[in-house]
C-alpha cells in the first residue's frame, strides 16, 4: 500500500504529483524515443498514426471532455488544418510556421462556428456542428485553388530547418514531438484558471457564471483551442496520407473521434491516448477476428462499423469512465493491495440526512 504525503502546495500544482509518476513517465518517454531502433518501419508508421489520432482526440477532449460541448464536426477542423498546411507547404513555407498557420486558420473556423453554437447544448449543438462539417466538406470540393477539388492534392514532404524530412523515422519523431508539446500545453491550461473555467462550464453553467466565468467567452475559447489542435493534427495527417481528397474529412471521421474520446474516457488526457490506441488497434483485431468467425458473420462488410457500435454501447453501459476509468481501478487496486474493497467504486447514493465520518 502506498501513501502520498503532501507537504507543499506545489505538489498539487506540479504536473507530476510524486516521484513514482516521474519514474513511470520517464520510462515511457525513453521507450518512445528508442522505439525506432527496435521497430520496423511498418509499426513505426502505425505509431505515427497513433500519435496523430491521439492529438485529434486531445482536441475533442478539450471541447467535449472538459468543456462539455459536443461536436460532430471535428473532421472539418482537421480538414481546414490539413488543406491550409498542404497549401503553404507547397508554396515553400517551412513546417513549423506552416502547421501553426493551419492551426490558426482552423481556430478561426472554430470561432466562427462558436458564435451560433455557444447558445446550444446537447443534441442541438451536435446537429449544428454536423451541419458546419457538411458545409466545410462542400467547400473542400469547390475551392479548387486551395484543395484541388475532388481530384485532390499531393502533399510534399515536411521541411524542417531547411532539411526535407523523408522516411518513417523522422516523421515518427516529428509526430511525437508535436503531440508531447500539445499535451503539455493542454495540461498547463487545465491547471490554470482557463482550464478550471472550462470544467466549471461543463458541470454547471449557472454556478460557473456566478463565480465570474464569462460563458460565451470561455466557450468560444474552448472551440478555438480545440479547433487549433485539430488543425495541427490535420497538418500531420496531410503528410501521413500524402494526398488529400475531401472524402477523408467526412462525418464518419468526426464520429470515430467522438467514439475515441468516449471509449477512452471523457475528461482525461490519458483517455484520449487510450481511445486512440483502441481506434488504431480495433481494425487489426477485427481483421484477425474475421478468420475465426463463421463465414456468414465473418465476411459481412458491415462487421467493422457493427463492432464499433457494439463497443460504444458496452462502454456506455459498463464503464462510463471509459478505458481511463478501468485503468484507474486497476492502478488503485495495486496501490491499495491487499486492502482493496470491492465496493470502492460503487456509485454512492446522495444522502438527504448525512452521517459525517466520525
Amino acid at each position: 500500500m502506498r501513501f502520498i504525503f503532501k507537504t507543499h502546495y506545489d505538489q498539487d500544482i506540479d504536473l507530476f504529483p510524486h516521484a513514482g509518476a516521474v519514474f513511470w513517465y520517464s520510462l515511457l518517454a525513453i521507450a518512445a524515443v528508442c522505439a525506432p531502433f527496435f521497430l520496423d518501419p511498418f509499426y513505426l508508421g502505425e505509431l505515427s498514426f497513433l500519435f496523430i489520432w491521439s492529438l485529434a482526440g486531445l482536441s475533442l477532449m478539450v471541447l467535449t471532455g472538459y468543456t462539455g460541448l459536443i461536436s460532430i464536426g471535428h473532421a472539418a477542423f482537421i480538414g481546414v488544418g490539413a488543406y491550409v498546411h498542404a497549401f503553404l507547404t507547397r508554396n515553400g513555407m517551412p513546417f513549423v510556421p506552416s502547421i501553426i498557420c493551419g492551426g490558426i486558420v482552423s481556430a478561426l473556423a472554430g470561432i466562427i462556428i462558436a458564435i451560433p453554437a455557444i447558445r446550444m447544448r446537447g443534441l442541438y449543438l451536435a446537429i449544428a456542428t454536423l451541419a458546419f462539417s457538411a458545409i466545410a466538406e462542400e467547400l473542400f470540393v469547390r475551392w479548387e485553388t486551395l484543395t484541388g477539388g475532388s481530384r485532390g492534392v499531393a502533399v510534399p514532404m515536411p521541411v524542417l530547418f531547411g532539411n526535407e524530412l523523408d522516411g518513417e523515422v523522422g516523421f515518427y519523431y516529428l509526430c511525437l514531438a508535436v503531440l508531447v508539446i500539445c499535451i503539455l500545453g493542454v495540461l498547463n491550461l487545465l491547471r490554470s484558471p482557463t482550464g478550471r473555467a472550462w470544467i466549471a462550464i461543463r458541470d454547471s453553467e449557472i454556478a460557473a457564471q456566478s463565480m465570474g466565468v464569462y460563458l460565451a467567452g470561455y466557450k468560444t475559447l474552448a472551440f478555438a483551442t480545440s479547433a487549433f489542435l485539430a488543425g495541427v493534427a490535420g497538418g500531420l495527417l496531410a503528410h501521413k496520407v500524402g494526398y488529400l481528397t475531401p472524402d477523408i474529412f467526412t462525418p464518419i471521421l468526426s464520429i470515430q473521434l467522438l467514439m475515441l474520446v468516449m471509449v477512452g474516457g471523457l475528461g482525461s488526457i490519458r483517455g484520449a491516448i487510450f481511445g486512440a490506441i483502441f481506434l488504431v488497434l480495433l481494425p487489426t483485431l477485427i481483421a484477425i477476428l474475421r478468420d475465426y468467425l463463421p463465414n456468414a458473420i465473418g465476411q459481412q462488410p458491415a462487421l467493422e462499423p457493427g463492432i464499433f457500435g457494439l463497443v460504444l454501447v458496452l462502454v456506455v453501459l459498463l464503464e462510463p469512465q471509459g478505458l481511463n476509468g478501468a485503468w484507474m481501478k486497476v492502478k488503485f487496486f495495486f496501490s491499495q493491495f491487499p486492502m482493496y474493497k470491492n465496493a470502492t467504486f460503487k456509485r454512492q447514493k446522495t444522502y438527504m440526512r448525512t452521517e459525517r465520518l466520525q
Partner: protein, 252 residues
C-alpha cells in the same frame, strides 16, 4: 451604511408576478433573512440580484453601483457570491478544483501565459491556493480536498457550496436555504459558521430559510414575502408575530 438597495424590484413570468414591487435595503455587516411560503418568490429575488434574470421593473444598487443591467459574470467581481437551492457544484471535479474556480473573478493570468505555465502563473496559483486553504480550515473540509464532489454525502456538499461562495472573496453572500436537508448537528454548525462569516470575515449575509429556530438564532432582520409581495420587514419577533405573516403561513 446601505450595501444593497432594491427599489420596486419586479419580474413577471408570463402572467405570474414572481416578484412584485419589492423595496428593501441591506445594511453592511448584517444578517438578513428572507422567509415566505413555497413559491413566494424568494429564490427569484436572489436570481435578480445575481443577474440571472433581467428585472422587468425597479432597480438594484450595490455599494453605489447600479447593477440592474450588469453582465451576470461581472457580479462575482463586485463581491456578490451565492449558493443555490439545489446544490450546483462542479460534480466531476475535486473539492479543491471547485474552490479554486471560485477565485476566477480575481485571476490576472492570461491564457498564453498559462499555456507556457510561466513562473508568474505558478506564483498566482500558489496565492489562489493559500486563499482557498483559509476557507478549507474555517469549514473543516481538509479531509475531502482531493475527493470528487459527486461522491460526497449531501451535508458535505452543501458545506462545499458555502465554502465555494466564500472563496470568491465576497462582500455580500446569498445563501438559498442553507439548512435544508441537514441534520440537527449540521444545522447547529451552520448557525455558528454563518455568524463567523459575518464576524470574522466581515461578509454581509442574506439567507433564505425555512427553519425558524435558525432564523431566530442568527438574523438581525427578517423580511417576509408572499406572492412576490413584501408582507413584513423588521426584527425576527416582529415579523413572526405580524398578522399577515401568520395568515400566509396558515394558508389564508
Amino acid at each position: 451604511m446601505n450595501m444593497l438597495q432594491a427599489n420596486e424590484l419586479s419580474i413577471n413570468f408570463g402572467g405570474i408576478k414572481a416578484v412584485d414591487g419589492i423595496t428593501f435595503d441591506i445594511n453592511k455587516g448584517e444578517i438578513f433573512t428572507i422567509i415566505g411560503p413555497n413559491g413566494a418568490g424568494k429564490t427569484t429575488i436572489f436570481n435578480l440580484i445575481s443577474r440571472i434574470y433581467d428585472s422587468s421593473g425597479g432597480n438594484l444598487v450595490f455599494n453605489g453601483v447600479d447593477i440592474t443591467r450588469f453582465a451576470p459574470h461581472k457580479i462575482a467581481g463586485l463581491g456578490i457570491a451565492r449558493t443555490f437551492q439545489n446544490v450546483e457544484l462542479f460534480e466531476h471535479a475535486t473539492l479543491l478544483q471547485n474552490l479554486l474556480v471560485a477565485q476566477h473573478a480575481h485571476h490576472t493570468t492570461r491564457m498564453w501565459e498559462e499555456v507556457l505555465f510561466l513562473p508568474r502563473v505558478r506564483e498566482s496559483e500558489r496565492e489562489i491556493r493559500r486563499n482557498v486553504e483559509e476557507i478549507i480550515d474555517i469549514l473543516d473540509l481538509q479531509r475531502y480536498r482531493d475527493s470528487i464532489v459527486h461522491n460526497l454525502p449531501y451535508g458535505v456538499r452543501k458545506n462545499i457550496e458555502l465554502a465555494r461562495a466564500l472563496c470568491s472573496k465576497p462582500k455580500l453572500i446569498l445563501l438559498d436555504e442553507p439548512s435544508s436537508g441537514l441534520n440537527v448537528e449540521e444545522t447547529e454548525d451552520l448557525s455558528f459558521w454563518i455568524r463567523d462569516i459575518r464576524d470574522d470575515l466581515g461578509v454581509t449575509v442574506i439567507i433564505i430559510e425555512h427553519d425558524l429556530s435558525l432564523v431566530n438564532d442568527v438574523s438581525d432582520r427578517v423580511m417576509a414575502v408572499n406572492y412576490g409581495r413584501l408582507l413584513a420587514l423588521g426584527s425576527p419577533e416582529q415579523v413572526q408575530n405580524h398578522p399577515d405573516v401568520i395568515k400566509a403561513y396558515l394558508g389564508g
